[in-house]
Symmetry: C2
Subunit: 319 residues, 2 copies
């Protein structure tokens, strides 16, 4: 029997992929990710592609892959893949929503607390001569308890953030393509509101929508102008949903109080103005950036690959 | 009628004290706190002292205050006051536990998340040429979900932290002078353990005990040696409960993974080694450092003063 061939396009912990090596032929780069050109040259032979976040897996690439049956994404967001093209070519696409949910919600809440309570500002400035004013009101942050958390995109991750918000004494409002069931709303005492009302009334705005053609630059100058001057904006979803220059400008002009950002328009580049601002806290697309979670995510991806070829019903297909 | 006189030893928002001005004569400094010498000179006339955190309110000071009836602390921790001496002299001491609880728990949890998920490290290094490795496993943090949170001192603040821990998927263990009721334990599914077991088994250790002669340098080299190399230490209580040099050494030698610190042995000085370390996140005794919370705390203190002279039963006496 010919073993099916899997092309992994960047280094993932080999031990976390151990199960694959039993029944598949796995190509795993030792160091650094493969470039688009390299993948284009290699892909003809492969049955499975673990796509990269550094380039788009598009129709041109799929056209060079007559054997490709599955694109198994390592992550929950799949804006790195032309899913429509894959569907047309009969190629399955899977992602890893289970293991990405809690760590990403965790990171989002870490940024929310850090931005509101000025943890980044304090930590940076205590280490340099500028210092921080220890006085009672000077350099004060804003509180979280009793405030309103507005969640844009109330899927798994949004709800996991809401759970943390409730325990922190926050009121939850949300906007979503579809209103959630009364049952789920009751769990977080969450109120469904329009996109505009959310921006106008939330003290903390967390962006957790999927990146699609409709959510491109969802948050720009107009939306930032709707937000309160005391509000905090958190993005742990995708950078292309935010006009980064407009956000930097709003922060600079103190049109909003602060932001916590994990994702950027041109990763790994960050808008230079953001790097200079005191009222923003930055992390490097680290939603699942823990040893444990990266391995759990690899395992979820592995189970999708194995399950797909065994015809299991619970494979996490996105098409 | 002679109005009672209140000596406030550092600037507190005047509007938050408005109710006092109706029936009391209030001395409120405009800028900067009063020095100990100044308080010693002034105190003879006063009925109420709002003590400072910059110096100890000791028996010598009380001896100069024949009219003093109440020391109304602005804060929950009262290690800045010789309460025994006050008791002997028949002087009441009050604090502000209600309004300090949630903001301090909030700050503790912000530091916990920031230390585990390396928010301070990321934010600092993304802004300088050194940068952060965006690779999958490089510069990774450790997760919170599924981990064990050990709380030393399970009072109001400890429990408010536990509530946030539960919502974040943590298991709660605690050590306390007295074991809590089964009812409270059940609320957080919290397990009572010895001090030693807590240090040995917790992934995150949060110090929330009161500062007393018994808790002085509670955490030193021996205790840090008991902790896991993957553990995170959080202190939002008082700096004198931790041997700061030993903690800096343990962090430098990676005997623990990280720390989040809000309080220090010699505030506002921070041990110089801590200021150089990448695996610590620092804030400036900011447990209640938000505009809203500082005002709420002032109001709680004001109600203690008014209630004390009106003989109300619910004044927050600590002696």
């Amino acid at each position: 029997m010919n073993m099916k061939k899997i092309l992994v396009t960047y280094p993932i912990n080999k031990e976390a992929l151990a199960e694959l090596y039993e029944n598949y032929e796995v190509y795993l780069p030792n160091e650094g990710g493969l470039k688009r050109d390299q993948v284009l040259e290699m892909i003809a032979d492969y049955d499975v592609l673990i796509p990269n976040f550094g380039f788009y897996t598009d129709d041109e690439m799929m056209a060079k892959a007559p054997n490709l049956k599955l694109i198994a994404n390592y992550g929950v967001g799949y804006n790195n893949i032309d899913v429509d093209a894959a569907t047309k070519r009969g190629i399955a696409v899977t992602n890893t929503p289970k293991t990405t949910c809690e760590p990403t919600a965790e990171l989002a809440f870490a940024l929310l607390l850090a931005a509101g309570r000025r943890i980044g500002y304090y930590d940076r400035n205590l280490r340099i001569p500028r210092g921080v004013d220890w006085g009672i009101y000077a350099d004060a942050g804003i509180s979280i308890f009793g405030k309103t958390l507005g969640i844009i995109g109330m899927g798994r991750i949004g709800q996991a953030i809401a759970r943390r918000g409730v325990a922190s004494g926050m009121d939850i409002i949300y906007h979503n393509r579809n209103r959630l069931s009364a049952d789920i709303e009751a769990r977080y005492n969450a109120k469904y509101v329009s996109f505009e009302e959310l921006l106008k009334t939330a003290d903390y705005v967390s962006l957790n929508a999927p990146s699609t053609s409709e959510t491109l630059k969802l948050i720009g100058e107009d939306e930032l102008n709707l937000m309160k001057p005391t509000s905090v904006f958190i993005n742990t979803a995708r950078g292309n949903m935010v006009d980064e220059a407009a956000l930097a400008k709003a922060l600079k002009e103190e049109k909003i109080f602060a932001a916590g950002l994990d994702v950027y328009e041109k990763e790994p580049k960050i808008h230079p103005d953001l790097l200079e601002l005191e009222n923003v806290v930055l992390s490097p697309h680290a939603g699942t950036k823990t040893i444990e979670d990266r391995d759990k995510m690899a395992n979820e991806m592995v189970q999708n690959i194995i399950g797909f070829f065994e015809g299991k019903y619970d494979v996490e297909r996105v098409n």
